[in-house]
Point group: C2
Chain length 333, copies 2
């Protein structure tokens, strides 16, 4: 165990695609917890698309980062020193503790996790924010009905893989979209989706259309762009589109222009953006459902783990290009 | 009273902006009602943006017109011959009876209107489809709360003018958008909106931004295009956008590309398309509300009446350019 802290800072605002030089890895002194605070050793860092948005200047739903700030991110951590009666040494928890080896906290916003409930890393994925995001968006906004067709973008990612499996549990026909043929086996054979469409295929529109012969009832959108625009033309009357992310636009200076919104009128589509942190009251129910599905073997998950905090920038760059399978993590050594 | 029928047919599919030569006005024999049918004399024809969509080839929410078909449209009509026990001579009603002087019907889909409840023409406007559309979209999807900011597109039109006044009745601050400075007096002085923004102004974005210093809680959209795209950047968290029409795209071959949909995620916006004919069960309540607001003088309306069925094509062309103030009608002489 090192006795120096290690941090990854925002060094420059990306202009278009993010690159390694937009980050700076620095050593720093160990942080010292004051009265009421705890010292935490981060074990895993969650790599998520929203991080790219927070690197920009301007408005998001959260305050964006300033140059020199520690990169924002959720970690799974262990308490190694406590001056707070609510926490004791050895407690494991998840919190927005940033891209760093050590962090201090007054405990606000931390979520303790039971080591018996699953591997620590799972609380950043299927049993954490991505899993609850999938659960909320599909069940609360999408409201699937058995027999309906559900299309899931980024189907092999941390959110999409869970969305599709929950839709299968609810008796839907599930079509996954992702980039690259190597993901087919994972999405269809491992996750049990009914079909897979490669958005990098030159015949993407035709292949997607063929994959949904009865049209689309629910499209769980994490990408926006041409995928959303195409799905709009395939939507059934009274379809639902939970809007959860727009990764297509994050790593570019020119957002895609969606041309088929008229379909939202013609087909009475309900589109709704959501942010999972608004719905804290539903997390216990979501995590209880997800845990029980994992226990009974009807929900499975994958992780892509990148070794060492220094690899976090390349892990984010890879995530934005779709290199990961399942939840992208960084193990903080 | 003529004893020949007069009809306006779809003569050609418009390629971009609709023009007079896309229509053909023809004389025809009087239709003869069979057993169970009624003969109707159309008095007023409602001119509505959806008509433009139905002139296209391809998919809409309703079957599109074929070349040679009588143009689709709602009329206010009088029964002049009846072979149906549910209707008697002199009954007044509203129905989708088309761009023609006389029509026959078996009575299905007709809505009888009480002559005592208001002028016949009003049942095509404030007490008809446009009024109920405004009522439904604002109250059922928009769900206004007193003190919120409501922005209304096509504010001087048949739907927008009612939306804004209902929003005022519910204690909202209302900003109207329309094209041309001549509409300011109408929207602000006559309809009582709090502010007006001209979408034709070279400083439209700046002027709209200035008109909503606290952001937008509800945007009632009938136009799409750059207005929708700009509003998306001004939406408050948890705002609502009833999607009712996209007149910006109707009269062009190239739909506008909406670039700011990410705001729907960042601000958890609920967008929902609707078609008022889906909600027949709510019409009585809507018309009861609208009638009572008119009676008590808190809801006012305007009509632009074009004389003679032969003027219907130019009335539609004018509507699509925003020439009308209030409900655009054609008086069928």
């Amino acid at each position: 165990m090192s006795d120096r802290n290690l941090k990854v800072l925002l060094a420059a605002r990306p202009n278009g695609a993010v690159k390694e030089s937009d980050f700076e890895v620095v050593e720093a002194d160990m942080p010292k917890p004051a009265g009421g605070e705890i010292l935490l050793r981060n074990r895993f860092l969650s790599i998520d698309p929203y991080m790219r948005v927070r690197m920009n200047e301007g408005r998001s739903y959260a305050t964006n980062l300033q140059i020199g700030d520690v990169m924002v991110g959720d970690t799974a951590a262990e308490v190694i020193e406590s001056h707070n009666p609510d926490f004791k040494i050895g407690d494991t928890l998840v919190g927005r503790l940033g891209w760093q080896r050590y962090a201090i906290s007054n405990g606000v916003g931390l979520r303790k996790v039971d080591p018996a409930s699953g591997p620590l890393s799972a609380h950043l994925g299927v049993l954490g924010m991505p899993g609850v995001t999938a659960w909320y968006g599909l069940l609360q906004i999408g409201r699937p009905v058995a027999g309906e067709t559900v299309v899931v973008a980024a189907a092999s990612g941390a959110v999409g893989s869970v969305v599709g499996q929950i839709a299968k549990i609810h008796g839907c026909r599930v079509v996954g979209i992702a980039g690259g043929k190597m993901k087919t086996r994972h999405v269809v054979d491992e996750l049990g989706f009914d079909a897979f469409v490669d958005h990098r295929s030159p015949n993407f529109v035709r292949e997607l259309t063929a994959a949904v012969p009865e049209g689309v009832n629910i499209y769980f959108d994490t990408v926006g762009g041409v995928v959303l625009d195409t799905i709009l033309t395939l939507c059934r009357p009274f379809s639902r589109i939970p809007l959860c992310g727009m990764i297509n636009d994050y790593d570019t200076t020119q957002p895609y222009g969606v041309q088929n919104l008229y379909s939202a009128i013609a087909n009475r589509i309900h589109l709704e953006g959501f942010i999972i942190s608004d719905h804290a009251e539903l997390w216990p129910q979501a995590i209880s459902d997800l845990s029980s599905w994992i226990r009974t073997g009807i929900l499975t998950y994958r992780e892509t783990v990148s070794p060492g905090l220094e690899t976090a920038p390349s892990a984010l760059i890879g995530l934005l290009k779709g290199d990961n399978l399942g939840k992208q993590l960084v193990q903080i050594t």
